[in-house]
Assembly symmetry: D2
Homo-oligomer: 430 residues x 4
């Protein structure tokens, strides 16, 4: 009789046995291998790996399950932003020392087979805000279903695209010194900004004890140490020189990251898995947010930071990014809607490009909020066209036209039946 797989193998079935698993039926604070949601050098490592190990890490979605697969945006409106982002790690890398470069191969990224969906949210202007929340102040939500490599949404119809799946957050723990620089400069910003902001409820999020989750270190076990870290630990929203929440869509399947190391053992953490995202992630909760897995291997370049003059991460993107031939490119300049001229302001220029795209796609029967979500979630390219032609910066937003099931080019736009059902976003009930 034939016996299947007479194996003499040394191959590691890392894919079948994740080094860190998550249980989506448990709270993020009650996972068997604890998660964390602050950056601090003293959060204890949960696992240890060696150079060239290949291993799988699972992650919960960034909110730790606060957002449901349903048709109400109440959960988005009321999201608790002190309880984010839930990260897997810290992972100790044997032999890594401050000043080294940790070479991380992102061998694969994907959703968990038991949870083939994700969400894109527009935050309420008073709780989170976003790039355009002065115009679109109300919480909304789109749920995306995954079928193999593709995402579709019942809330934004006639669109389908392949995931450029990536971890929104990856980075090593900061040193004490680096952490205090972060806290200082961000507090300085808060202190400087006494006016209110058009789009965001705050200017930065300083450390806060409330909502802190510190991995293996439990409040019950060491209250003073816990409080010390919780009151110092950097919040996870901004990307910083260690990487962190860069939300770079191209750290995708098959890419390689070179990450600075600041503490012994490197203490690598990651999470905030995105099925897809457009450059800028403009709706803030704008990627297709999901739980997922990342397959990794690690290596070390000793003293790499000085030898390679690297002070923040370097990335080599992978070979299987979805590549599109046909784009429609929108432009924006640094003049606002009231015709006020700003000086080489790329942020404003990109905002104007986004608004051009929203205005245009509305022609095809989408609501403005639907387009706002779509530009956040789909693989759009956001580029800095020119940044020296004083006083205007010019930014572009390039939309791959093949993600639509109909033709969005201008010649077709004049003929479109705008009464087609494009679905609608989930709204709040209150």
């Amino acid at each position: 009789m034939l016996v299947l797989r007479r194996t003499l193998s040394t191959a590691i079935s890392y894919a079948a046995k994740p080094l860190i698993s998550v249980d989506l039926n448990r709270s993020p604070t009650e996972q068997l291998i604890p998660l964390h949601n602050r950056w601090h050098p003293d959060i204890p490592s949960v696992i240890s790996v060696r150079r060239n190990d290949v291993f799988r890490i699972e992650c919960v979605d960034w909110t730790g399950g606060q957002i449901g697969n349903n048709d109400s945006a109440d959960d988005v409106k009321n999201v608790d932003l002190t309880r984010i982002h839930y990260l897997s790690g810290p992972i100790e890398v044997e032999g890594a020392s401050p000043g080294d470069i940790l070479v991380v191969d992102i061998l694969d990224v994907g959703p968990l087979p038991s949870s083939m969906w994700g969400f894109t949210g527009i935050f309420d202007k008073k709780n989170g805000g976003g790039f355009l929340s002065d115009i679109y102040p109300n919480a909304c939500k789109a749920i995306w279903d995954f079928s193999g490599i593709y995402a579709t949404s019942r809330h934004i119809k006639n669109v389908r695209f392949a995931g450029l799946t990536h971890p929104g957050i990856i980075g090593c723990a900061p040193s004490h010194e680096l952490l205090s620089r972060w806290n200082k400069r961000e507090q300085d910003l808060i202190n400087r900004c006494t006016h209110s902001h058009h789009q965001y409820s705050v200017f930065a999020n300083p450390p806060i004890e409330k909502g802190a989750c510190l991995g293996r270190l439990k409040f019950e076990d060491n209250k003073s140490k816990w409080k010390e870290i919780a009151t110092q630990g950097a919040r996870t929203i901004p990307p910083r020189e260690h990487g962190g929440n860069t939300d770079i869509k191209n750290i995708s399947r098959g890419s390689r990251a070179y990450l600075p190391v600041y503490v012994n053992g490197a203490k690598l953490s990651l999470g905030d898995i995105h099925f897809s995202q457009g450059d800028g992630e403009i709706a803030f909760c704008g990627a297709i947010e999901m739980s997922g897995y990342v397959d990794l291997s690690v290596d070390i370049i000793k003293d790499g930071m000085s030898r390679l003059s690297i002070n923040n991460p370097l990335i080599q993107p992978g070979p299987i990014e979805p590549r599109y031939s046909n784009y429609l490119t929108f432009q924006g300049i640094s003049v606002d809607d009231k015709d006020k001229q700003y000086f080489l302001d790329a942020t404003l220029a990109y905002r104007q490009a986004c608004l051009s795209a929203i205005r245009y796609l509305k022609l095809f029967g989408y609501s403005e909020e639907q387009v706002y979500c779509l530009l956040s979630a789909a693989p759009i390219e956001g580029r800095i066209g020119s940044i020296v032609d004083i006083p205007n910066a010019c930014c572009t937003l390039s939309l791959p036209i093949d993600i639509f099931s109909f033709d969005i080019r201008p010649q077709s736009a004049t003929q479109i039946d705008q009464n087609i059902d494009r679905g609608q976003l989930a709204k709040t009930t209150s």
Copy 2:
């Protein structure tokens, strides 16, 4: 307390619950949902699906586990080619009738998490043969390990590439009429070809009872029916007008196939999953053969064969094929090594292009058999350059140079240290 995933979802977790599972610890003939290895309209369907269903199918490797993850090629030498290819299915598609086109979306393809490896074999000239078995007559084997999207081999070192993963075989069951045409024309060929062949042990494989596996239909249950099908059922090696073993590497993730339907319910079968393959699959067992899963959805174009003038499959390739910028392109013409001129013979021209590539890559320290395997397994492009310039066809083989960890361009070839360890293929022990 926060509860993870308050779901109100209707999303189908097809990925977590395959419609057809395989158990790699059981023989291919003893799977819970039976497999089959012949094409015949009367092999009973094992499952039924409806239009727009999304589902996962698992498959064993084409040999049903005859080849092991080890360092001996004895299993390749002695492979039983009557016991192939083990296919998953037939899958009944409700509402499909002869003359329809079955639209099959290949939503994703990948290895099974518990079996992250594959093999490439050179068949013994006397048992299988291959494109170059007159020159390389002995069985050899390379094992490939998968790390996320990448494959590497301890038997062919300094090469790494992303999988262009695909099912080598997909197709609907033939009608009785089509099946008898197949059997007749292939037997005619066997009858015509009385000479022996340089490369292959036979010219075609007619139906054979030995080794037949007919899915739900067990010999014990209905001996006469079993014998009837086993003696008529077409062998699975050749691609035919229904598709079948086309080994087209581009039927990969995200692609769409339009398949002719010949029987009620379509009776779709698939298998022979390849992690990667070069155009031509020249070593015969030349792809990176593995067990794996395929995520599918199906739709029907009624009367599509006549309405669309389609008599054999049409494919729309997917959007995430690995794309390379840098190729080295070898040429071949239809003149053999003894300077004999053939007339527009593309098969010979491609053979000569393969030999040019082998001769060249040998410079870098690989054995000829290693290159033979590599050209079979890596994502090489095999093209028909010109097919009208009498008397010579010209074919090309384009090798992506970025799959090597060193520079294979000619300027570097003159400086290479040929004593570098490139590994060696598994050989036979006898």
Copy 3:
């Protein structure tokens, strides 16, 4: 006897007979078909075309020949920025009216056969400035030679890349109303900005009579009209809502632009041809600047601005952009070198990404100024990674590694011989 080309053709040999020719041996103000260097609705059209016409337009380089193909940067240091950009046009398009969209096909773009070279300049901080002129305040220059599709430079060695050739400037004339908005808002900015700037000598360039070149309208012919336009005409440096100097590198061969029309006849002008440019064009005179030709055809969408909700140009990029597989991606966040935190400042984030790239490439033996030029001129991708993760924007700069003749990946960087001759930029003599 055989006669070549017995033609019965209606094909237009537009390529052999440009509609606007330039003579590089004449001053830009003395061309047979006059050029202009201001935006104003009353600058007279020089030629007239109809819908679907295919025609070639030649352009001088943006400075009108102020910069020479030599090894001194004195000309860059002393460039007269009132005498720019010399544009070809205005071209009247029959039937175009305010509110229409002019559809412009950029059928081809290239250098003039008699002038196969271009230049990249770093402006002196006191005359022009640039993105990094606080760090690199001195004028420098690199000359590029073109060989077919490729550029190389004696001033920046070991780099070669294919041109993503494009007109830096294309747009229709503004209406009087739009022009006065431009002038007003830019003057407002100048009035607001009373401090001096780190990088630029001025904040904006208001209209100025000196240096004005107004096409067919000569000072001698109508002094009052000439003075009126010269004192009102908008300067050409900033991109504005009509397009203009957008410096979008992807308006390249085979692309299509949809341009708003503000005056009867559209009055299309173009110029500032770039053999290649990186996103941002960071050195200001940073593209590979050259004289060249553009092949065009035009069409009109009547009332397109309102029907398509288009207030600024839309672009469909062309199909033959050089595509690279291998990039090295640098990151920057909106924290300056003194660790001061800015709020979602994409301009600063991109600057920091540029500085990371400069620091890194210096490892390989280039001077910082050489890299500054290279990042301006080569086809780098400048992207907005995230623009919502308060307080940090994250921008990326992706460098195609295949443009170098050596391996710039980090693993190689630790082994590089830094004494290799990479050439040096042309400097000033004084």
Copy 4:
């Protein structure tokens, strides 16, 4: 006064002054720098170049002007195939010796500005024939007009694509020894093939004095030498081990060819410029044939043939090939229309794939002959899918769907109005 271009340049304006010019108003036999249409080591060189020279070569179309830009196919029907292909050269490369590899950079390729059109012909079965001339025996012609990078045809409407422009022929002169091997083996084939062929009027074209054009060597000057070469010189139709008429579409802009050298000075010749071509060039005169220019530079690898184990050309394709995302892939197997089974016959399999594509595209209102021309001329990919699955080879033809101005995917095919005017090919008048 400003003087344009104060040049101190050493840049070579090769583009303005071709090393070999052609005059399209003169017969191919009366060009100032003579052309030739046979391969022979004793045809004298017309120019000489050195390593690293950059130079432009102009070429007439392959027929030397026999085919006109008009609406009759009479010229195709009556083409004189003894008077082809008119090649530019031989070019002597100083320092090249037998056994060397000539490295040729194809820096650019394009049409002549004065002749922006090309033709695709179906040969009459009795004069030339072609891949499908048993089915389409009559001469037809399509004229293509070039607008920048794009081609369109009044004879095949609603199609537009960017040129993948290339020389169909490039190669060095054979040695006497190699030439006699060519003549011997091709004559042997003619001797063996006593039956008539379905598609071609002959099996090979032996040397023939009639129509010979031998460059600088004029009949009048040395009758005996002329006759010797004319009766020995190899015809130019087949590609051979020196390269020659390979018709590989990817030897395009920016590519590099490594060519074997057989005689002192290499004696490089080239011609048969194609604006575009599909893999296989199936209609024989199937590319978009044109006159044009090629920009080249050359280098030498001494003893490269043995050092690099190169016996026929190697190519590195260039970086600006048009890349398409969306293909429709047709399949063919080696079974003919009468259901006769052939053994691994890739030529037949590709033929069947072509017929599948023709049958399908006919749905959209094209004639079969129009599709036959289109598949020859457009950038289709012809691949060898599998070449080992006995007895069937499987070849694929992948058609980029974005070259059509309408949607050719199957879902659209069922709704198409077949009465749309797609134009029609030029036919013969007799």
